[in-house]
């Protein structure tokens, strides 16, 4: 799968971790991070730090809240909470992918779940649930789900 055009490169932390958007449609979105030396959390094993997976899941969940085709400036939001369960250490030298699905959007809040995996989504290394609050538009107006096409 090739990276598709996205705004991840405009987010300094996402770019620094190496996130690329692989898929973003009605079935949610998939973001990938390649294995990299600066992401290692345990120099004894080469396993990627949980924090990098936290960042990946947070960002992927946030993107899943966005409806494909709606301008980024039209929907501003903030993460309210994020709960992550770590099932297995990430295998070193392999890409890590995250797939997030926004299963409910209300006027104020969006609810998302996500899975981080390497070879297949059936064998997760971490799962998470998150909620996001809509905070308005870049112009200061409130957006909520009124931006739904």
């Amino acid at each position: 799968m090739e990276p598709i055009d996205d705004h991840l490169s405009q987010i300094p932390h996402a770019a620094a971790i190496g996130m690329t958007l692989i898929q973003h449609d009605d079935n949610g979105c998939v973001v990938k991070i390649p294995y990299a030396d600066h992401l290692v959390g345990d120099p004894d094993t080469g396993v990627v730090h949980g924090g990098a997976i936290t960042a990946l899941l947070d960002n992927t969940c946030g993107m899943a809240v966005r409806i494909p085709g709606v301008a980024r400036e039209d929907v501003m939001m903030a993460t309210l909470d994020l709960r992550i369960d770590y099932m297995a250490p990430a295998e070193p030298h392999q890409d890590i992918l995250a797939h997030a699905v926004c299963y409910k959007r209300t006027r104020n809040i969006a609810f998302v779940r996500a899975t981080a995996y390497q070879s297949t989504p059936d064998d997760p290394i971490a799962t998470c649930v998150a909620s996001f609050m809509f905070t308005g538009t870049a112009e200061g107006g409130f957006s909520g789900v009124e931006t739904t096409p």
Binding site: I11, H13, H38, D44, H49, N59, A78, T79, D81, D85
Partner: protein, 145 residues
């Protein structure tokens, strides 16, 4: 290399600054550790690559989550001599305020310490300790000596 074993053998088992300096991801985040007696404060100075929202600007939720996790793990290692780094089992993060582009500080408390699993609460703040930007609680799997 056995990071924690080496530090212990050098008599630096409580040197948490040495730990953060040897873990690539903690170096990438720019985290350092301040120790006053038995009190540990983690410090994450602002750097551009921590930003998640350029317009506000605000720190990335992932950088905040990672800093909370590092704060928890460093406190655990300080309290308990471990053979290997604690493994995160789960973590729950509440985002309370937007993280501004400035230095962030962290403190953690080991709320329950079992033989194999510890429960840790962390909070991080910027200008005022009484106004945390995020808090977390998590479970960690331990490998004590």
């Amino acid at each position: 290399m056995k990071l924690l074993l080496e530090l212990r053998d050098q008599g630096r088992g409580k040197d948490m600054q040495a730990v953060v300096e040897q873990i690539p991801y903690m170096r990438f985040l720019g985290i350092s550790v301040d120790r006053k007696g038995n009190e540990i404060t983690t410090i994450m100075p602002f750097r551009q690559q921590l930003i998640g929202n350029v317009m506000l600007p605000a720190l990335h939720g992932g950088a905040i989550g990672a800093f909370l996790e590092v704060t928890s793990v460093i406190q655990l290692l300080f309290d308990t001599a471990c053979e290997r780094l604690p493994k995160t089992i789960d973590v729950s993060i509440d985002y309370l305020r937007s993280g501004r582009p400035q230095t962030t500080y962290g403190r953690a408390i080991v709320t329950r310490h079992g033989r194999r699993v510890a429960n840790v609460r962390s909070e991080i703040w910027q200008d005022e300790r009484s106004k945390p930007i995020a808090v977390s609680h998590g479970h960690y799997l331990l490998t004590p000596f």
